[in-house]
Amino acid sequence: MAVTNIDPGAPDFSPQWPERTDLDIAQVAFTYDAASDTLFIDFYGPGRPAASVPSEDDDRDDVYLRVDPATAAVVGLQIEHFLSAFVLDRPDYLDALELADLHGIPPDQVDAIRERLAPVRKRAAVDAVFDDLARMSA
């Protein structure tokens, strides 16, 4: 049985996303943790205290917004089941590992995963060509 019970007393964070143009790209940090299979994307550098608020558009709660409870500002993202499930649906996100500080996974293992997902990524690239470029020339 699946459970989704929400505590009625839990605060409504109404997360506030930053303006992407306001982000200092030098502060944005990608970190992958193999033991928890989680990709963290920190908008203001790593290590800010926050609540992990699941994205409403996510059937499996893979994507959590890291929300500052004092300001409701989204300070980053926490993507669970990253290599086990998330990138299978969104293979483009595999590129994030090239930018990431890798914890507990050697680069050659990342290469092996990339190779394994190559057909999925190729399919996505072909879909993009048909969705975007073919429409332009129609």
Partner: protein, 125 residues
């Protein structure tokens, strides 16, 4: 004489609890320092709240993807401003027990969150 290293071992147990089924649940210092403190500093040194969630959870679920993982949820464990949220403690089950018990779980991660995860199957109650 070689210099001695006084740093505690990463395998030092910082949380040790027995869950409702008598399973040995632990958090190791190495995982706590390298992950929980770094990635979830809102937990700081709240070993006690992780211990509470493992001993006396409100909900236990099976992870939506990883078959060897169980998630323990407990509200009101963390101090404000996280006190109305669940503390979610994610355990990898089946590791080696420091006390030699047949079944054990090891803390993988822990964080405050407003609800039980969608896609997780309820194990208890």
């Amino acid at each position: 004489m070689p210099p001695t290293d006084d740093r505690p071992s990463p395998r030092t147990v910082v949380v040790s609890a027995v869950d409702r089924w008598g399973r040995d649940m632990v958090a190791y210092l190495g995982r706590w320092e390298s992950h929980v403190e770094q990635r979830h500093p809102e937990l700081d040194e709240h070993f006690d709240v992780v211990d509470l969630a493992l001993r006396d959870p409100e909900v236990i679920t099976l992870d939506a993807v990883h078959p060897n993982r169980e998630n323990f949820y407990r509200r009101g464990a963390l101090p404000p401003p996280y006190d109305r949220l669940y503390l979610k403690v994610c355990m990898a089950m089946g590791g080696r027990s420091p006390r030699g018990l047949p079944t054990t779980g090891e803390v993988v991660t822990a964080y405050p969150t407003p609800r039980v995860g969608r896609g997780e199957a309820q194990k208890w109650p």
